[in-house]
């Protein structure tokens, strides 16, 4: 079992897909010689050449749109949007084109495009390089949305994203690139729409994504010291959402916290809370608690940045609230 970092897991998956399939190729800003702004695609130019590892101009609409066009011809492009903040520049192509060609054509077309992007706070890049915007895309019928939190999940989910016949937004978290894990020798594809129970517990379910999966695991370990048994569920795929796993977990624990780094208001957690109250109402012993960023852009000064985004301590407090109220 090799040990891979989250970053290496992305690179490994891209290489393996490109080795076995001439239809897979990469496009993005600074991905060739420089190896990507986060060094994810380092070394791929040397192995696959400039035709398949394509440096692009700073043109997000053209990057995504060219990916759409190549995908409609049956290729499986993987495009990189350097920061998820910059998906705003390609929003029209993602929302009006990639998501809808299949529908508007009455099922004639497929757009098997993967859009990789990364972001997140924790290193003071400021308000235009640190947002978490994954929830925007969950609101658009026709798109799939993936947010992997571990190297194993990166490999299995990125593989499935590349080979999905729909456009998939694949979110990576900048702070997670360095985390390491032993992974299987071969990639084991993970079906899109399957949650993972990261930790089993009896008293409270925490549904968390991205960096907050790791913060929630820390919070769960601390809660255990206080005699609270916490189950941590990572949906991994936000669209389609594995409602059943979440609901089954809440039916077991009777309490639910949802946690993500993105802004709480209208966040992905609001959707999870709605699903839980609707499908597990009779099991709930406390209101569903939400943990997310405060309602502000991500500030520069580290002390303010750390204040705005949630941490393990915020998850732990939310866990305590659910238990306190049900007591």
């Amino acid at each position: 079992m090799p040990e891979l970092s989250y970053r290496e897991a992305v690179r490994d998956t891209l290489s393996r897909a490109m080795r076995q399939d001439a239809d897979v190729f990469l496009m993005g800003e600074d991905i060739a010689e420089m190896g990507g702004s986060m060094a994810v695609t380092q070394g791929l130019l040397a192995e696959f050449g400039p035709e398949r590892v394509r440096n692009t101009p700073i043109s997000e609409m053209a990057i995504v749109g060219a990916g759409i066009g190549a995908a409609m011809q049956g290729m499986r492009p993987v495009v990189e949007i350097m920061y998820e903040d910059f998906t705003t520049l390609a929003m029209e192509q993602i929302v009006n084109q990639a998501a809808k060609h299949r529908y508007m054509s009455g099922g004639q077309l497929k757009v098997p495009l993967t859009i990789r992007t990364q972001g997140g706070a924790g290193w003071s890049p400021g308000a235009q390089h640190a947002q978490q915007v994954e929830a925007w895309f969950v609101h658009v019928p026709g798109l799939k949305v993936v947010f992997a939190s571990t190297p194993t999940d990166v490999r299995g989910l990125l593989w499935s994203s590349i080979y999905d016949d729909n456009t998939v937004l694949f979110f990576e978290h900048r702070i997670l690139y360095g985390i390491k894990e032993e992974v299987p020798d071969e990639i084991e594809p993970i079906p899109l729409g399957k949650a993972r129970i990261q930790r089993e517990g009896e008293d409270v379910t925490v549904v968390a994504t991205g960096r907050l999966v790791h913060e929630s695991l820390k919070a769960a370990a601390e809660a255990e010291q206080e005699g609270i048994s916490v189950e941590v569920v990572d949906p991994r795929t936000l669209q389609p959402l594995d409602e059943d796993t979440i609901v089954r977990s809440v039916q077991k624990t009777s309490r639910c916290v949802v946690a993500h780094e993105a802004v709480t208001r209208m966040g992905f957690g609001a959707e999870v809370a709605a699903v839980v109250q609707h499908r597990a109402f009779d099991w709930l012993d406390a209101p569903v608690e939400r943990v997310g960023a405060r309602f502000a852009p991500i500030p520069f000064a580290p002390v303010m940045e750390q204040f705005v985004v949630p941490h393990a301590a915020d998850v732990l407090q939310a866990i305590r609230r659910t238990v306190g109220r049900s007591a």
């Binding site: 398949r52 043109s59 060219a66 066009g69 995908a71 084109q97 004639q108």
Partner: protein, 325 residues
């Protein structure tokens, strides 16, 4: 090469030009029927007809080869018909029927027919251009001698996708042809209020792109220029900007009162810039010949309405199909 040149410089055969005239007349009568049925309250949504711009559609589409692909705009009926879509499939789509080219999911602004290489009309101005660059990239990566063609208007040259797509296509020498139908209005806004330059080919030249300008009311000239553009792209020399100067002889949408156009402009243009009159004159069509083409075309158009009305309505719950592959 010399042979190709001489053939290119010779006029079209009368038979070919007659076929082009017939295609243009089919589009004209189809569009007039669309206006009529809309006013009769039979058609839903938003309709944009291409009356006046038939020669661009026919000239370019007739020059394309099997395997070439194209994307269109909100004003797409002409491109669809000119590339070989049956009027029945088009009219059925406008009536929202399952027999329509997009099975009722698209409508006038979202026509598709993958079988003829039609990758979609697009209701977002400039929305289809990046995907045409992408299709051309796929052809290049796979070594296929195919060309991807984008139709768009003068208004689209002001939007970001135009600039990003042309830049990328030229940078990567992609086999694409960008057909700009300059009808001098972006919806209601005249060139003087949206374009700081008169010659739009400068925008392509700025990217180092080969540019050709053609009289868009002359189907023969459009056909020849499109043939050169497609050949250039297909031979690996890179994309071409094909600027067709044309005129919209109707409003932006069916029902547009056109308060923004100078009095008499449309009438004057109809008298001097009708592409059908041009072709008819060159053909020196006899009255009988003209009447015969009219009869054939009108039968097709009437038939398309009958076909559409007899078509199958989707079930409401069909709306939940085709969201995902």
């Amino acid at each position: 090469m010399a042979k190709v040149e001489s053939r290119r410089n010779a006029g079209l055969s009368r038979e070919r030009l007659r076929a082009f005239y017939r295609e243009m007349l089919l589009i004209r009568r189809f569009e007039e029927k669309v206006e009529e049925r809309f006013r009769a309250g039979e058609l839903s949504g938003f309709l944009h007809v291409a009356i006046g711009q038939e020669a661009v559609a026919v000239g370019v589409c007739q020059a394309m080869a099997d395997g070439d692909v194209f994307a269109s705009t909100h004003r797409a009926h002409a491109h669809a018909l000119a590339r070989g879509m049956h009027p029945n499939a088009l009219m059925a789509e406008l009536y929202g029927k399952l027999e329509g080219c997009s099975r009722g999911y698209g409508g006038s602004m979202h026509l598709y027919d993958v079988g003829i290489g039609f990758l979609g009309a697009n209701a977002v101005v400039g929305g289809g251009l990046p995907a045409i660059a992408g299709a051309a990239l796929a052809f290049k990566l796979r070594g296929e001698p195919r060309v991807a063609v984008a139709f768009f208007g003068d208004g689209a040259t002001n939007i970001g996708t135009f600039h990003e797509s042309l830049n990328l296509a030229q940078l990567w020498r992609l086999p694409a042809v960008f057909v700009c139908e300059n009808n001098h209005y972006a919806e209601s806004t005249p060139a003087s209020q949206q374009l700081p330059i008169g010659d739009l080919s400068k925008r392509a030249v700025a990217f180092g792109m080969r540019s050709l300008t053609v009289d868009g009311q002359d189907v023969e000239a459009v056909y020849r220029a499109a043939g050169r553009a497609l050949e250039h792209a297909r031979s690996g020399k890179g994309p071409v900007f094909l600027l067709a100067e044309t005129y919209r002889l109707v409003g932006h949408y069916v029902g547009d009162p056109q308060v923004y156009r100078p009095k008499g402009e449309v009438q004057a243009l109809r008298e001097t810039q009708d592409p059908l009159d041009r072709a008819a004159e060159r053909l020196a069509l006899s009255e009988e010949e003209r009447a015969a083409i009219e009869r054939e075309v009108e039968e097709l158009v009437e038939g398309s309405v009958a076909f559409a009305k007899a078509g199958t309505d989707p079930r409401p719950e069909d709306a939940l199909e085709n969201v995902y592959a």
